[in-house]
Amino acid sequence: MLPSSLLKAAQGKPMMVELKNGESFNGHLIDCDAFMNITLREVYQTAADSDRFWKLKEVYIRGSTIKYLQVQPALLDAVKEEQQKAREANRGSSGGQRGGRGGGRGGGPARGGRVMTRGNRGRGRG
């Protein structure tokens, strides 16, 4: 699954975001978009020097400033599971097709429909 799909899947989950300037934000993800702009709620912001902290109710972070995001392992487990299931389903449905289809695009929960298939199409030939 693609990173953007994973981010979509993490909506509502707590995560840690570190920016390029070293500040970090811990909070629950409200929403995200294609540019990785995100909004978080109940956020604890930490300064780059880790000496000051703020608590903010809502925060909007521009995607281009993000260095990385850290999600909970539980989410990754869930994602892996879904991938597996999708792979099984894919394998079952498209048994005759060659492996190039590469099942396991599953990733991403319910909203995945379009996202997943877009990925599928894009990599149809593997």
Binding site: P73, K80, N120, R121, G124, R125
Partner: protein
């Protein structure tokens, strides 16, 4: 207590006694009771700490029932079966065993400590110790009585049996007794037991000591035997037996002499314990071999002990080897090497264990780290990579680079200024290099751009088709390259559409696309590349074909409506062609003129030829004007130097063809003026145009095509000047003023041409390279005569129009040439060459009213 075969329980009834005594309770002895006479404290009770551990408390198995085995052996019971090492049912033997143990206890025969070797296969299993003991039992007695000894393979590793025998202190032949008898005896013995236990314990100790002694003796014997074997190098068992049998008595004597004297019992113990442990190990023969002898135990006189220990181990190893299937002990392997091998094996095993542990730890660590791997598949990663690369790739990397732009412009200015400074007039190929490079770069950029856009469009198409997820791949997976008609192109050539070029003439002017170097002369770039030119010609050909088709379908004159449409379409086509010819247009100033560029290819020339009846006179005149105006841009003019080459080459031939096509198709056919336009005025104007730029004219006139063109105009003009013949035969004279103009023009041309005549002759130019009047020159001149023809011809025609005075001047100018030619003709033999030369000269001379024959006759040998 059953260890010693004692009935440990209170004697019961007969029927109860039939049971295995192992199930009966152990009798309770009140050693520590008050009734006890405290003699126990006087006992030398040491080494009993581990008795329980050693002997155990619970039900006792038959595993170590050495007494039973010995008993059976003593009584020679049928349970002793040499062929069956595994005796499962040992119960019946127990009685016999126990009965015999008493005898065993009674009779201690050190000599019976000889442990004869037994087939070692039986030692593999502790269960079989009993049988082994049984087996050895006969051999035990056989030692005493050598004749009874059935086999005597000298594997003395059967120490367990020996131990058993020793523990039993051996025994003479004794009848196995029933349990009842034993019990009876026990009853009697019990009364005395308490008093006798002390003694028995002492006896035990004695036994132990004797046992140890015997063991030691045995070890010594083993060692000696080992030495003997190694000395004698015997392989056969029977041989060894035969040898050793007679030695037994000797050894016995030796042992008894050495046994007691060597060491005290205190030394025996630790050494024995060291040896016992190997022996216990022996009971588990498949267990680890490596139990080195304890060097610390070997003090002083312990060297022998050490050797014995080593021997013990060695024998154990051999035993194990044999157990593993070796037929005989391999006495060739030295003890040291075997030790080394054992150590090696041990080390390897340890290493293997360590490596395994390390490996397991590493795998666990990796697994813990890699729990969340493969959430992104490889194709996901490729997708992202592709997108990122597509973002990076741009058609023009310098488009948004300010410094690159500035640098490029500065360089451009510098080069342009250099060109202007260095190459003033000709300016040929000034920007060839950088143009080519830039073109190559641009083409590569366009190529990459095409790839990127193709990929993007594919992505978008996938996007679009993904809107209906239910119908995806309904027809199976159709994506992939294999279905496409053509295989993947390794190199994609840009398909430049000429239409786009035609519609963007200004853009053509700005963009530098042509690589055709020979078109580039001067500062301005050509309007279009040769390829584009050809495309234009093709389109024009389409038009002309349409016109011809249209002409064939010309409707009847009566059909007004269709006629008008027909006319209309015809006019449109003609107009298209005229526009397409680009005789006049916004690119007027380019170099070369677009029309000139168009007629450069052969096809262009041929095309013009087909236009003969489609162009209006006005158009034709305009075209002629363009040709004359830009005559130096004509390919046939520019490349005319090749005609001076004597060598025949494909390029020369091609050029000949081009020149011919130019004259024929372009001038004669295509731009053939209709009679109405063919006026003296026209040609006068044209010739005037030609001599407008004198330097250009000089250069042009030297070339054959240029001269031919001039000749053409001149011929037409002179014809017109002399007057045409009308349809009724009247003389149509040219207008007077035109004639006057013509005369003026003629004079001017005459003046211009006068100095040029000599170099106009290609032969003159060519033969200048050779030494004059040499043989080579003559030979070459034969070829160049053909080149001269057009000049002679024009000269003749030109001269005709001249006045006498002009004639004389011509003669003066051409005297050398004429004479030279005639001279060469004289030098030649009669033949075509000579005739041609004379003919050429006559062309001119006849125009003047002279003849070559006159000269030739006058001067038989023309002087140089």
């Amino acid at each position: 207590m059953s260890f010693f075969g004692f009935e440990t329980s209170v004697p019961r009834d007969d029927k109860d006694s039939k049971q295995a005594y192992a199930e009966e309770d152990i009798a309770v002895y009140t050693w520590g009771d008050a009734s006890y006479d405290a003699l126990g404290s006087a006992l030398e009770e040491t080494g009993d700490d581990l008795n329980d551990e050693t002997f155990g408390g619970g039900p006792v198995g038959k595993d170590f029932d050495f007494s039973g085995a010995t008993n059976a052996a003593l009584t020679n019971q049928p349970n002793v079966q040499p062929s069956k090492p595994y005796q499962s049912d040992l119960a019946p033997k127990t009685q016999q065993n126990t009965s015999s143990t008493n005898d065993l206890w009674k009779n201690v025969d050190p000599s019976s400590a000889f442990s004869k070797q037994v087939p070692t296969e039986h030692i593999t299993n502790p269960v079989h110790q009993t049988s082994a003991a049984q087996r050895t039992a006969p051999s035990v007695f056989a030692q005493i009585n050598p004749s009874v000894n059935p086999q005597a393979d000298y594997n003395i590793t059967n120490l367990s049996s020996a131990t058993a025998a020793l523990s039993l202190d051996g025994h003479n032949e004794a009848r196995p007794r029933t349990m009842a008898e034993i019990e009876a005896e026990m009853h009697a013995a019990l009364r005395e037991q308490q008093q006798q236990q002390l003694i028995s314990q002492q006896r035990e100790r004695e036994r132990m000591q004797i046992e140890q002694q015997l063991l030691m003796q045995q070890q010594q014997r083993m060692m000696e035997e080992e030495q003997l074997r190694m000395e004698m190098e015997k392989r056969r068992l029977y041989e060894q037996q035969a040898l050793q049998d007679p030695l037994w008595a000797i050894r016995q004597a030796m042992m008894q002499e050495n046994g007691m004297s060597v060491q005290g019992p205190s030394d025996l113990r630790p050494s024995l314990s060291a040896n016992v442990s190997p022996m216990t190990q022996n009971r588990h023969p498949m267990s680890q071999i490596p139990h080195q002898p304890h060097p610390p135990h070997n003090h002083g006189a312990g060297n022998q002990q050490a050797l014995v220990n080593e021997l013990l181990l060695h024998h154990q190893r051999q035993q194990m080897l044999e157990q593993q299937g070796h037929p005989r002990p391999n006495y060739d392997i030295s003890i040291e090497s075997q030790d080394a091998m054992a150590a090696d094996a041990r080390r390897r095993m340890q290493e293997a264990e360590m490596m395994e542990a390390r490996h397991r730890r590493r795998m666990a660590k990796i697994q813990s780290m890699a729990r969340y791997n493969d959430i992104m598949t490889q194709s996901d990663k490729d997708f992202i990579t592709r997108v990122q690369v597509a973002q990076l790739v741009t058609s023009d990397p310098y488009a948004d680079d300010f410094y690159a732009q500035v640098y490029a412009s500065i360089r451009q200015q510098r080069i342009a200024s250099e060109n202007q400074v260095l190459k003033g007039a000709p300016r040929q190929g000034g920007q060839r290099g950088p143009h080519r490079r830039e073109n190559a770069i641009q083409r590569m950029q366009a190529h990459v751009e095409r790839i990127v856009s193709h990929m993007k469009s594919r992505e978008q198409s996938k996007e679009a088709s993904s809107h209906n997820p239910g119908l995806q791949n309904v027809l199976g997976k159709t994506s992939g390259r294999s279905y496409k008609a053509a295989p993947r192109q390794l190199l994609q050539v840009a398909t430049a559409s000429p239409d786009s070029r035609a519609h963007h003439p200004v853009k053509e002017h700005d963009s530098v696309k042509s690589l055709d170097s020979h078109v580039h002369h001067g500062d301005l770039p050509p309007p279009f590349s040769p390829t584009e030119g050809l495309m234009i010609i093709e389109r024009l050909f389409n038009n002309i074909l349409e016109i011809e088709q249209l002409r064939r379908n010309k409707p009847l004159a009566e059909d007004e409506a269709r006629m008008s449409t027909w006319k209309q379409s015809l006019d449109e086509l003609l107009d298209t062609i005229w526009q397409g010819l680009r005789v006049v247009g916004p690119l007027y100033e380019t170099n070369p003129h677009p029309f000139i560029a168009l007629i450069a290819p052969m096809k262009g020339k041929r095309f013009i030829g087909r236009l003969g009846r489609d162009l209006t006179d006005e158009q034709k005149l305009m075209t002629l004007g363009v040709i004359v105006n830009r005559i130096e841009q004509l390919d046939v003019i520019r490349g005319a130097a090749i005609l001076d080459s004597v060598e025949d080459s494909p390029a020369r031939r091609m050029f000949e063809r081009q020149a011919g096509a130019f004259q024929e198709n372009v001038i004669n056919q295509g731009l053939h003026l209709s009679p109405s336009a063919r006026t003296l005025k026209t040609y006068t104007a044209l010739i005037e145009l030609m001599i407008e730029n004198l330097s250009t004219f000089s250069r042009v006139v030297i070339t054959r095509p240029g001269l031919t063109l001039l000749e053409h105009f001149f011929a037409e003009a002179s014809l017109l000047k002399h007057g045409l013949q009308g349809p009724e035969g009247e003389h149509i004279a040219a207008p007077a003023e035109d004639v006057a103009k013509w005369s003026n023009l003629y004079d001017r041309v005459f003046e211009h041409l006068l100095p040029l005549w000599n170099i106009m002759f290609p032969s003159t130019r060519i033969l200048a390279a050779f030494p004059p009047n040499s043989l080579e020159a003559v030979q070459v001149s034969v070829v160049t005569d053909g080149f001269d023809l057009h000049v002679w011809r024009f000269l003749a025609g030109f001269a005709l129009e001249g006045t006498l005075e002009q004639h004389s001047r011509l003669v003066t100018q051409l005297r050398a040439k004429v004479m030279g030619t005639l001279r060469m003709a004289q030098a030649l033999e009669e033949g075509k060459a000579k005739a041609r030369k004379i003919r050429n000269v006559d062309l001119f001379l006849n125009a003047l009213g002279l003849s070559s024959t006159q000269i030739l006759e006058a001067t038989p040998q023309i002087p140089i």
